[in-house]
């Protein structure tokens, strides 16, 4: 057994040593901040970012994996000072250690500008810098909220101008520090308090100052609270050349506290004057509307409601027409009159009344003659009838009876039809000379006046009804 072998410790394998180093070192540097200058920056196609952090003394290999590299807000370049946060890793195959970077921020001169750009880009991405989302400032707020220092010149200037324009405008102040560390958080709280207390507009203001003084108004959280404020926010921070993130996010940016007061408050006297002018126009135009109707009405009434005048006008017009045509009219009248008298005389000759009288006379004469003719005719005819009757009647009956015809009487009346007597009745038969009383034994009410077609006369010799059509001989 070799002594040397005995005292010499057992050799570690490379792997064993490396594992031991890894176990000793990595837990100690799990989360470290390292400041240094960027060098040897290499961006791989995969998106991983390899670089060296170095200072005067040493160099440290570093990598930002692609997943983290995307979140870096600035563009890393060789030579800039940075602060890297990450952990130390030992990579056994290469026997090297490096910093696996989780966050990377610029540091020192220019760092603020980079940070500001980063904040603006984030706000931009969220749409908070979009001009379209800016709200109009109320024309006449019922109460104005101010977030500023109660002792600053900014508040004094703001109130002087605001109350000069509209003396009775209510103002609510939320006091806060406007510079130094922590000011951003105080301004944020003040804006929230004002929104809770109830105002129509919030003014955030402070006077001018150095970039460092104004830096608090670039705070991202403050910017987001301004954007989310339920009422419009006016930002008046610093002077015209200083534009802060708060200015960018606010609904209106005022260059100075005085300018903010002008944006927020109208001039009361101007409003009153404008209102008085409108009220005057209102009254005048309404009065004019009524007056115009009254004029119309009066004109109408003048035309309509005075018939006497209207008639008189017409008469005048008529007179005028007559006057204008007078000469001719007179002449025409004269000739018309002459013509008329001629017609009258002609009419006189054919006087309708005398004409009617003559006709009446002729009619009466005709009537009289007609009457005379009728009377004469009646008289003559009456005489003739009388003569005829005298000649005819007695002679005829006696002659008929003497020729064998008989006149049958019953009850004093002449019997012309067998129906007038009944069998068994007594009848008187007048003959040419003397009469017979007889009794009806049978009758035939037939229409034929001659026997032979009905009942046989009593004791009749002609049963078959054939008789000589000629009368006489049998009675």
């Amino acid at each position: 057994m070799d002594l040397f072998d005995r005292v010499r410790p057992r050799a570690l394998t490379v792997g064993e040593l490396t594992r031991a180093l890894k176990a000793a070192i990595e837990p100690r540097f799990k989360d470290v901040w390292v400041a240094g200058e960027l060098a040897n920056l290499r961006r791989q196609a995969s998106g991983h970012l390899y670089f060296t952090l170095k200072d005067a003394e040493a160099s440290l290999g570093a990598v930002i994996w692609a997943s983290q590299a995307r979140h870096i807000a600035f563009e890393p370049t060789d030579g800039i000072e940075v602060v890297a946060r990450g952990f130390v890793e030992i990579y056994p195959p290469h026997g090297k250690y490096q910093l696996i970077v989780q966050e990377l921020e610029p540091r020192g001169h220019g760092a603020q500008a980079l940070l500001l750009r980063q904040i603006k880009e984030r706000l931009q991405k969220d749409g908070l810098l979009d001009p379209a989302r800016k709200r109009p400032i109320p024309f006449l707020p019922r109460r104005v909220g101010v977030a500023t220092s109660p002792t600053g010149a900014a508040l004094r200037d703001f109130l002087r101008v605001l109350l000069g324009r509209f003396p009775s405008l209510p103002v609510l102040l939320a006091p806060c520090r406007v510079q130094g560390s922590g000011a951003a958080a105080e301004v944020t709280a003040a804006i929230r308090s004002l929104a809770r207390a109830g105002v129509d507009v919030v003014v955030v203001t402070r006077g001018g100052g150095s970039q460092e003084d104004l830096w608090q108004f670039n705070d991202e959280r403050l910017a987001r609270v301004i954007a989310a404020c339920p009422v419009p926010v006016v930002s008046a921070v610093g002077h015209e050349v200083d534009v802060t993130v708060a200015d960018l996010v606010a609904d209106a940016r005022a260059a100075t506290p005085t300018h903010a007061a002008q944006l927020v408050a109208p001039v009361r006297d101007e409003l009153i004057a404008g209102l008085a002018s409108l009220r005057g126009r209102l009254g005048r135009s309404a009065a004019e509307a009524v007056a115009a109707r009254r004029r119309d009405l009066r004109a109408l009434r003048a035309e309509l409601a005075d018939p006497v005048r209207l008639l008189s006008q017409q008469r005048h017009r008529l007179d005028d027409l007559l006057h204008r045509s007078e000469g001719g009219t007179r002449e025409r009248l004269r000739s018309a009159r002459a013509g008329l008298s001629a017609l009258q005389s002609r009419l006189g000759r054919r006087d309708p009344i005398s004409h009617v009288r003559a006709l009446a006379r002729r009619a009466a004469e005709a009537h009289r003659r007609l009457d005379a003719w009728r009377a004469e005719t009646f008289r003559r005819e009456a005489l003739r009838l009388e003569r005829l009757e005298r000649r005819l009647e007695p002679a005829n009956v006696a002659k008929l009876l003497s020729r064998g015809f008989a006149l049958v009487l019953a009850g004093g009346r002449v019997v012309g039809e067998s129906g007038q007597v009944r069998p068994g009745e007594g009848i008187r038969v007048a003959l040419g000379r003397g009469w017979l009383d007889a009794r009806v034994t049978a009758r035939d009410t037939g229409s034929d006046p001659l026997p032979g077609r009905g009942d046989e006369p009593p004791g009749g010799p002609d049963p078959d009804g054939h008789v000589d059509p000629l009368p006489g001989g049998r009675y």
Binding site: R135, P138, F139, L140, R142, R143, P150, T151, A153, L155, R156, L159, L163, F166, P167, S168, L169, P170, V171, L172, L173, A174, P175, A190, S193, L194, A195, R196, A197, G198, V199, D200, A227, A228, C229, P230, V231, R268, L271, I272, G274, L275, L278, R279, R281, L282, G283, S285, A286, A289, V290, A292, R293
Partner: protein, 89 residues
């Protein structure tokens, strides 16, 4: 963001001053243009007078009041009268 557009709390929602005046201007314009019936004219006039009165009231009602929010011991905030320091130039 959901709170956007909320106005002064604890007050009935009322028409903004400039909206009132815009209405009044429209009414006056209609009257001046003529062409309205007498009844419409009188109605517009009454409406105009109402708007003018309301606008005047808006200008007169505000009472000068500068207040400051102060935190109480229990953390709540109250508004107290505030006198701005005017001694400084």
């Amino acid at each position: 963001m959901s709170e956007r557009g909320k106005g002064v709390e604890g007050r009935a929602p009322e028409e903004a001053y400039d909206a009132l005046v815009a209405k009044l201007e429209r009414v006056v314009g209609e009257l001046e243009a003529g062409g309205l019936s007498l009844e419409q004219s009188i109605e517009r006039f009454a409406e105009g007078m109402r708007l003018a009165r309301e606008a005047s009231r808006r200008l007169d009602e505000a009472e000068r009041r500068v207040e400051m929010l102060v935190k109480s011991a229990d953390g709540s905030e109250t508004a107290v009268p505030f006198q701005p320091d005017e001694r400084k130039a």
